[in-house]
Amino acid sequence: MRRRIGLKILGIGGILMGLFLFLFFGPPGLYHQTSTPEFCASCHVMEYQHDAWLKHADHRHLDCIECHLPNDNFVNHIFWKGYDGTKDVIFFFGRLYADDLTISAHGRQTVQDNCVRCHAEMVSQMMTDARDCWDCHRRVNHNYPMVNPRD
């Protein structure tokens, strides 16, 4: 139900997307600014993921979009940046999100492709489409139990 309303709004939002695309290339720096982790985390719903990313030492030097937007070619990148960005904004201000966010199937595939993109050499000997990298590399996943084990 929540989803369906969401998608309707998304339709209208699609129109706004054009506007967004314009804005990205319009005001100086906005394209860049909307690519930073600080921007993503400016929505409190992203805080948890931001903190988890911050604590995961090995990828702290990456922006969220390194994983969360297609980086295979520029057109694809900019299209999804506009689309996802608009969707996030609409869902956020429309309060159309659940307490714990879950990634979409498309989102998952995007991330997986990015893991493989950067670590292509490392994983050249394995099947990369059989399952998600973060099934094993659970620290990369923002939902990994953040606890302090007793010794």
Partner: protein
């Protein structure tokens, strides 16, 4: 900028507005309205059919009867209050109310029973001593300030008003921690201990006439922080006459007892304890109210709160987590059935043997005494797991171990009893009639009866191989 539209950053916790001896939650509630509201929700019934083994006081408002859930318990506990009326808890709001409403045999010790119910217990014990502790239960309740007679776990039990730090508020816990040699308390420790004020086993010490001899005590001798195993608890409980609280009618044995040992089972090396997870993490998870995140004070089963607690740590879906939870609970409940019926069968053999003794049966005293010792070991293990409220989830491997031992002790005791009886010329069939109807029906002043639909049958059907349980709802 975009940031401007984002909801406001929440206020920090306000401090120093509550005095350190403010009992009234309403007063606290004026400063912390959200927590107060969520705390009040323990009154509210929870959604039905979420939990498999912790039903009760759900939206159907049925109070579940633990003796119908596990019929063997009706036989084993027969002889005092727990064998008459023993219910699944309803929630913190009902702590005192449930005591008032339950069969009065349960509250016969008196004021001492308020130890984990009223926030005034510490003050009243200090002020009035044995006059309060030994007062007949309703008299003790009536000693409490009228407005708060029915007040259960309250803000003051868990918080220092002036600082809002979490803290504990029970002398018995202090004494228990002293037994463990635990002195330094971290914040994490406290997130467990606020619950361990009450969710622990205890005994009411008795004098030579089995009358109440003081405030509640914890059987934690020889144990330590992170390891309060059933072996040590049993040793403590059997070490002194003053820990013997009742006489089991089927066997005639004077016995100690074990209640809600959540903290003991959980802290004994369970994977979540070792991971630094606390009771509070699972039973009081953070949730969003507007732009704030607060701890859910509507303490309940995580299943009845949509597994929100679990999902903050686990990536898996609520469904997946439930399945694993049931994987564990089903196995514990199956084993508990085995252990419970094995022990009940043994109890019935004692009954028979004692009868035959009266008819002149002679027996090997040494074997008999071994049978008794083994039986007590089995019984206390059964109670330990049956009384623990997570159906094994708080520590699956330990629950499995304890139940295996329970079955082993009961089985050997049964073997010795059958031998003793057969030696005396008494030949028994394999299936011993447990006469469960006798224990399950017409209990107490309310005439409580067995409710067949509440029974937790062995989920794997193994129990049927041992004992058909011929029960009909009357």
């Amino acid at each position: 900028t975009l940031q401007d539209c984002a909801p406001e950053k929440p206020d920090l916790i306000k401090v120093a507005q509550i005095s350190d001896n403010e009992y009234d939650p309403e007063v606290w509630g004026r400063v912390y309205p959200l927590n107060y509201e969520s705390w009040q929700q323990t009154k509210r019934p929870k959604p039905v059919d979420k939990s498999r083994y912790r039903r009760g006081w759900d939206e159907d408002r049925i109070v579940y009867d633990r003796l119908s859930e596990f019929p063997f318990a009706a036989l084993l506990y027969n002889g005092w209050g727990f064998g008459i009326e023993y219910n699944e808890p309803r929630g913190h709001h009902y702590a005192v109310i449930d005591q008032i409403e339950i069969d009065p045999s349960r509250t016969s010790p008196g004021g001492v029973c308020l130890a984990c119910k009223t926030p005034y217990h510490k003050e009243f014990t200090d002020k009035y001593g044995m006059d309060y502790l030994k007062a007949p239960f309703m008299e003790a309740v009536n000693m409490l300030p009228e407005k708060h007679r029915e007040l259960g776990p309250a803000c003051i039990d868990c918080h220092q008003g002036s600082t809002m730090e979490i803290r504990t508020h029970k002398d018995h816990l202090e004494r228990g921690l002293a037994l463990l040699g635990k002195t330094e308390l971290s914040h994490l420790d406290k997130r467990n201990l606020v619950c361990a004020q009450c969710h622990i086993t205890y005994y009411v010490p008795r004098d030579n006439n089995r009358k109440v001899a003081g405030d509640v005590q914890l059987p934690w001798t020889n144990s330590r922080w992170g390891s309060i195993p059933i072996e040590n608890i049993i040793e403590d409980l059997l070490s002194d006459e003053n820990r013997i609280e009742w006489v089991q009618s089927v066997t005639g044995f004077p016995l100690p007892y074990i209640r809600h040992p959540e903290f003991e089972l959980f802290s004994n090396g369970s994977v979540h304890w070792q991971a630094g997870v606390s009771c509070t993490d699972c039973h009081m998870p953070y949730y969003r109210v507007g732009a704030n995140k607060i701890s859910d004070h509507d303490v309940t089963s995580p299943l009845k709160a949509d597994m929100r607690a679990c999902r903050q740590c686990h990536t898996e879906s609520a469904n997946w987590l439930e399945k694993q939870l049931f994987h564990i609970q089903d196995r514990t409940v199956s084993a508990l059935n085995r252990a419970g019926y094995a022990t009940a069968t043994t109890a019935k053999l004692f009954e028979r043997l004692h009868m035959e003794q009266k008819n002149g049966l002679n027996l090997d005293e040494n074997l008999y005494r071994r049978a008794v010792d083994l039986y007590k070991q089995a019984f206390l293990r059964v109670v330990f797991i049956a009384a623990e409220n997570s159906s094994g989830f708080h520590n699956p491997a330990e629950a499995g171990r304890v139940l295996t031992d329970a079955v082993a002790f009961a089985g050997r005791s049964e073997a010795l009893l059958r031998q003793l009886l057969a030696s005396g010329g008494i030949h028994l069939p394999e299936k011993i009639d447990l006469e469960l109807q006798k224990y399950l029906n017409q209990r107490g002043g309310k005439g409580l009866n067995f409710k067949a639909d509440q029974q937790f049958k062995d989920p794997f059907g193994i129990q049927e191989i041992f004992s058909e349980i011929p029960l009909k709802n009357k």
